[in-house]
Amino acid sequence: LRKNVEDFTGPRERSDLGFVTFDITADILNGKNGLQTFIFDWNVKQLFLYLSAEYSTKNNALNQVVLWDKIMLRGDNPRLSLKDMKSKYFFFDDGNGLKGNRNITLTLSWNVVPNAGILPLVTGSGHVSVPFPDTYETTKSY
């Protein structure tokens, strides 16, 4: 589902705005050294999870847009089972590169925030490709 709407949050030009709904089923684990262990070890304070869309367009070789994020604190269940989620943030392209774009990859990643120490960024294994249609959706009221 995609509309062409004026990007009122930024530059005053018409850019593509994408609407994506998604389900997330994930088990966040620590995959160090090929072994999968519980993610909240003694030095993990929280995880900052985010779903990002990555794609390329005529205008830009690489685009990344964070659609949704969630803070998972130590003590929360590292298993996610979310259905019918709408993106938290507007999926505006820098231009009109969403129309007809068949290759938008959604990946779930997370930033590990330790009690003290290194701040790694981890990308989950598994990703989803989302194709956008060739036409815009027009509605009378927005």
């Binding site: 985010y50 690489l62 685009n63 847009v65 964070v66 604190l73 943030y89 930033n111």
Partner: protein
């Protein structure tokens, strides 16, 4: 008592000893500065260690936490990374997360940031008419973190008397310390 001993020490210290102590002190300061400069070179960042000043990245970082940065030229800027940037014309470094990236084939990159604890993105913080940040605005990327330790610098900033008192105590200690 102890006060009389202190005065005794001061009188007994002749000029040579005083110069020696001053040189010792200067050496310590120079070494510290060299380590700092070394860090700037190794990390590629003009400010390899920064103190978190606001609560806009809570609950991950709180005011007073310390962040360790790198700023390698070839490190790409990617969504989800925590960057420290300065808005053109302003001195205060801001620590927020990258939420949008648009990179051209030639490496030209523009990105948008937002504090985890903020409702809206940082466009309101950028310069008038500026909608994106560029590589040149980046001071570094947060690679490591230590809680609370930076509180000392915040206290020294907010209470200058504390800073002077601390410097006076440090100076007195170094000058009066006897090498046995």
């Amino acid at each position: 008592g102890a006060a009389m001993d202190l005065f005794g020490d001061l009188r007994r210290m002749n000029k040579r000893q005083l110069y020696y102590q001053v040189l010792n002190f200067a050496m310590i300061v120079s070494s510290a500065l060299m380590i700092w400069k070394g860090l700037i070179v190794i990390t590629g960042s003009e400010s390899p260690i920064v103190v978190v000043l606001s609560g806009s990245m809570e609950p991950a970082f709180h005011r007073g936490d310390l962040l360790f940065l790198t700023n390698f030229h070839d490190d790409p800027i990617r969504a989800g990374e925590i960057v420290v940037f300065k808005v053109e014309g302003r001195d205060i470094p801001i620590v927020h997360r990258v939420i949008k990236v648009h990179e051209k084939g030639n490496g030209n990159i523009k990105f948008l940031t937002k504090g985890d604890n903020n409702e809206v993105d940082d466009r309101g913080l950028y310069k008038e008419g500026q909608n994106w940040l560029e590589k040149k605005d980046v001071v570094g990327r947060a690679r490591g973190f230590l809680p609370y330790v930076g509180m000392v610098t915040i206290i020294m900033n907010d209470y200058p008397k504390f800073k002077y008192a601390l410097l006076a105590v440090m100076g007195a200690y170094v000058l009066l310390k006897r090498e046995s």
